[in-house]
Amino acid sequence: MTRLNGGLVDRGTTLSFAFNGKSYAGHPGDTLASALLANGVQLMGRSFKYHRPRGVFSAGSEEPNAMVELREGARQEPNTRATVTELYDGLIARSQNHLGPLNRDLLAMNDYFAPFFAAGFYYKTFMWPRAFWEKLYEPMIRGAAGLGRLSKQADPDAYDKGFLHCDLLVIGGGAAGLAAALTAGRAGAQVILADEDFRLGGRLLAESHTLDDAPATGWAASVAQELASLPNVRLMTRTTVFGVYDHGVYGAVERVADHLATPGPRVRQSLWRITAKRAVLAAGATERHIPFADNDRPGIMLAGAMRAYANRWATAPTRNAADPVAVFANNDDGHRTALDLMAKGVPVLGVIDPRPDAPRLGDYDLFAGGVIDGTKGRLGLSAIRITQDGRSSWHRCGALGVAGGWNPNVHLASHHRGRPVWEETLLAFVPGTGGPSGLFPAGAAAGKGSTAAALQSGMEAARKALAEIGIAATALSLPDAEDAPIRQAAFWHVPGKRRAWVDFQNDVTVKDIALAHKENMRPVEHLKRWTTLGMATDQGKTANISALAVMAELTDKTIPETGTTIFRPPYTGVSLSVLGGGDTGAHFRPKRLTPTHHWAEEQGAVFVEVGAWMRAQYFPRPGETHWRETVDREAKAVRAGVGLCDVTTLGKVDVQGADAGEFLNRLYSNMMGTLAVGKVRYGLMLREDGHAYDDGTCARLSEDHYVVTTTTANAGPVYRNMEFARQCLWPDLDVQVISTTDAWAQIAVAGPKSRALLERIVDEFDLSNAAFPFMACAEMTVCKGLRARLFRISFSGELAYEIAVPARYGQALMARLMEAGADLGVTPYGTEALGVLRIEKGHAAGAELNGQTTAQMLGLGRMVSQKKDSIGAIMSRREGLAADRRRLVGLTPVDPAATVTPGAHLFAEGAARSMATDQGWITSAAFSPHLGSSIGLGFLEDGETRMGEILVAANPLEGQETRLKVVSAHFIDPEGERLRD
């Protein structure tokens, strides 16, 4: 391993790592890319389409080529940029997108078929024959496509998300960002400085510049140190601000532990939602290249990246120290690469500069007016062809730096439809007006790329931003810094017959752009899609402007006339794991537990998710081998004795006020204002469009106090609608509502022995049928002084009650009822038996109240009062709804052993199975232990007049046809005698 002198790596510590199974050594401060280069490894991957050998092209997050599969096992992560992967001891990486070894990729034959893979290839080739798409083309493309491979295992790491607030967010910690943060930090503002790198300094770390005659890296370190000492400044390295959202909200990902082998006790990454009063965009600039023939060989990279590797990482870009390095530049800045390499003792072939008047800035060979128009080297650059004054010659060359000028990183400034504007003096797009408000571009991101200009503009941006929020910041005394003018030629590519790459990652060449032009795909949006330019993981950061320039040349327009590329979030890829922020698996959403949950667990209950709730589904007993056995037992126990079921999940809303009755009259289709105190009434709510919405009960506890219930699923929405009605429609009514779902535990006590059981726990309360009849309600105490509400309502069709106590007593009440009813055979039952009982009784539930049904269909048409208005009343009478002839019916199989299947559609016997002959569908079904067969509920055309008719239920998905008989939906006790007993 060879290192140059200097650099910002810790040579005192050696880290070992493996690339494609071979061991190498690097140092803390290295990236994977710098460590590989230091080990003479140029070849790092293969291109997407042609499988061309590729090496590292940049030194930052814009990297198109050097992408690897990082780590192993479940942590394997594809498409990881080696240029931003911080080296750690034991790092394991593999190159990707090749079949067989990296240096002998079998898919490299794609390169020989390049003429067939031109722009629009997919659109042109795979259009016909149509039938081939699914069976042949798609599997073939999917097999060959994609870069790295996923682990296909669950992500073992933890992620988190958090919220931050500040006066000033500084995005980027280079010269401009440090100056901005220091200005604001010294002024006492709350500052967040975020930078994607692991070390603050930006380009100052990559250049050989001095500030006040001392190395710029020293200045960066001292500013970082001062900022770290300020309590009002938060430094966030390894943090990418990836998007600007409305009202000063910025999205950022902090890579908390990506620089470690495993995160250990930490989260791997954090998603930050930063609310900033103002922000400074100091994201720097990205260098662009100059396409020329065969410009994609390993060893050819951006000139600025080459400087970064030499200055920051003390690394030469060549495989062999003796191989000379060349620079191809259309601007003065590129010449610095030659100077910096020479200062480090790297042999320099010279600078090739197409400008006839190119300056010679040092003691190197200058090929003024020259271009590079050919390269050699199968797996790494070995020679370049220089053409100057009409003469061409080949030169041995181990690496080539390409300098085509710098593009300001305008990405975030264009997130709110802000359009970048072309700055002819810079030959680049700079942030325009109309971008995110409160975002102040500074430094190279604003086109102010010299060190002096960056420092100055960073400071000024901070002062201006803070002044807007009333914070006065004094000017810094800035160090003396280089302020070289930008001198460059509008030289965009070297014309030639061979392929010249524009977008490396997606293998888009100048020829592809020419073909897109020829095929009239000229607007930049069409160009992008036709050629796939800029559509790879790097989003064309190094390619887009060069492509625009080529298209501009072909159309004979200027670049701004040709178009601009604007950017959407994210700036760089953001993993879905961190966007989830750890809310995965059991943490995907909060779980709501009923008051009796732990008691039910102790009983061995099986639970089911109902919305966010966990409800007991059934309570298996020892010896029961099938869930049906358990459910049948529970349902029978209710009809024969007494059962207990936690029904807390039903929504409860407390409605109070002088106008409570009038308010409920307007919400429910039926009359509630006339309900007597101490009584309960079933209520049906409609949506304003006239369809049935939700059902429940209204209990009137006193003249101005009602308690209403909703279905479990609609507890939230119904309450929201009630508040809407109260605040937005009828604020003149004297009424208040509040959701009390979580405040009261509610237990259904159902079955002929329910009265006997409750009599054992109530405190001196007459439960006789005369004193407390069906649909009565009362407030009382139970268990010697516990506040309770009792409702004589029944979902099962049996004599039944629901008893509510403050939620914290729910579990104790359940235990007391079980104890008190042991000799009555009291049986806990779950949602499964609850469902059986309600289907047997013909009560509607979610499957019948699915948002597409009406009161008439449910057999509740008469409940919609004609005497008053209520939500949905007018629209329920419109022709389309009122004329619907489908009605709720019961269905039993002709063959008692057959099964009724929900979702099956109903047809007359012998009728064709088509939409036109469809007569309805089955909504719910269960095995009825009381009837000894499967039963169902469904909607059927003219259902109420077709009792006894035989129909066919067709379930074509499963190839089933079942003959069913139409019966009353009330399978059990149709007269309702039991519940009034």
């Binding site: 609310t275 429609l729 604020p731």
Partner: protein, 95 residues
């Protein structure tokens, strides 16, 4: 997005549930002539302006106020927020 709650100050939009056009507060007169047509418009037809829009937000994870928020749908700039209850009572007072 941040919503300036008239009672609670700037609140994150994640605390709110969105409903839509504030015209939903103007429920037609059920006893008026041609009520069905009026309700059809009320239930199904909404303006969808590119620009200033008055819309209803419910502070569900907060104080449960319904707000009328005036928002520019193009820029997402929020131009004001009022308690829906006040808006409705003022309208009724004005009539």
């Amino acid at each position: 997005m941040l919503i300036p709650h008239p009672l609670l100050g700037l609140r994150d939009s994640q605390e709110f549930t969105y409903l839509g056009d504030a015209a939903l507060m103007d429920r037609p007169d059920p006893a008026g002539g041609n009520a069905e047509a009026a309700f059809t418009d009320y239930v199904f037809l909404r303006d969808n302006p590119a620009g200033v829009h008055r819309e209803l937000w419910f502070h569900e994870q907060g104080d449960r106020s319904w707000l009328v928020v005036t928002r520019d749908t193009v820029t997402h700039e929020i131009l004001g927020a009022e308690l829906a209850r006040d808006v409705k009572l003022n309208e009724e007072g004005a009539q």
